[in-house]
Symmetry: C2
Amino acid sequence: MVELSTTKDGIANPAEASDRVLQILSEAGRLFATKGYDGTSMRDIAVACGISKSLLYHHFSNKDEIYARVAVGSTLELYLFVRDRIPDGPPSQKIRAFMVATAEYFRRYRWAWIASTTAFWNDPDRHRQKERLTRRDRFEHFLRGLIQEAVDAGEIRKVDVPMTGRLILSSLNWMHRWYNPNKSATPEQIADIFFDMVFNGLRNPALAEPPTVEQPKSSRRKAR
Amino acid sequence: MVELSTTKDGIANPAEASDRVLQILSEAGRLFATKGYDGTSMRDIAVACGISKSLLYHHFSNKDEIYARVAVGSTLELYLFVRDRIPDGPPSQKIRAFMVATAEYFRRYRWAWIASTTAFWNDPDRHRQKERLTRRDRFEHFLRGLIQEAVDAGEIRKVDVPMTGRLILSSLNWMHRWYNPNKSATPEQIADIFFDMVFNGLRNPALAEPPTVEQPKSSRRKAR
DNA sequence: AGCGGGCTTGACCGATCGGTCGGTGAAAAA
DNA sequence: TTTTTCACCGACCGATCGGTCAAGCCCGCT
């Protein structure tokens, strides 16, 4: 797989890159993640790095390129990162490994992850927007494949596969909004807990007659 | 409960408000939701409304106030909105109702919801930041209370209550990133499906020996 | 010593930002 | 009729935006 070097504040990057460039990417990632793309000025980045604004343009052609290096350096290889951490074994365990690996990625490249999942919901750059969606889809379809495997193997019941994928990804993607690196568990442990909850369910197995059987459609709250 | 009038594009507002003000809030909410606070200029809002920029300042004192009216008008009463839709009955059904009600709120006040959950992760306005966190906490603790009820009643197993709350809220809070109002189910139906998955679990009940028993701690992937 | 080239800078640019100001015109109030 | 009120607008402000540029600084090479 592509080699990833871990640097301060977790910028994933191909090997060649000067310390200055890494510093800029690191500070920019943190700023993009906390203040957003539009809320972060080139001056902000320069000041955070203790350099002049002009120097940013010596190393990068414009603001977009810095963001692209932060976000793409983050998301480009997420699919590969996770795929290479899926062990052989029961499909349900692959799903667990998927969740834990994604959580590990989040922990290692936290700011870049947040910057890439937060900013640019609608990217004005059509090409980049399309590429981002392609990567996201590949990642999501990989998960759906694992879920389908588990269904076929009879390990999980016949659920709506895309919806199941969305539930699992939601639990991981929302983590950055409440996760505090100084407290509680590691992201990997949290992913593990979430897997247990979703896979085994919250319902008390000792409960003979579950209060919620397969609910009749008519009982659902109607949309108005 | 507090009276909410439903207007075009779903701005919740106290009764007194001119059509113009509602139009501004509606357009501003949509823009804040899609382009972010910093990515939306006062000119953008004015153009979207087909009025002059000056007129915005006739109705609002500044940009922050427009955002506050959009976001606060959206989140202020979420807790009350949901609380009043929790029926009497088994605690697990209350949790389901909580999820469905939140989804209904999302559907009705979609742009305002997105704007308020997206922008201002770190609000420079300390007072408003504190108030926002207070509301969020009140909402989250209300859910935890329902979960604790269900645990005490023996309907769900002895889980980590805060973590369970985070899992449930994640599934709802992330919905705006993938939900397409033109396709698939209504938010309420999606919430219903998520509840079923989380409550009953994905595991095939026909499976005699689940491949994942309560996993030993040592098998967890260690953080590095 | 002289020199070339990469790192670094401050001064500067046009555009756009949030916000202000004086005024217009029509309807309500007197 | 006169006056007041108020939704509304175009022109404008200082500040800041992303980005440019010519020139210094520094260091190794000849």
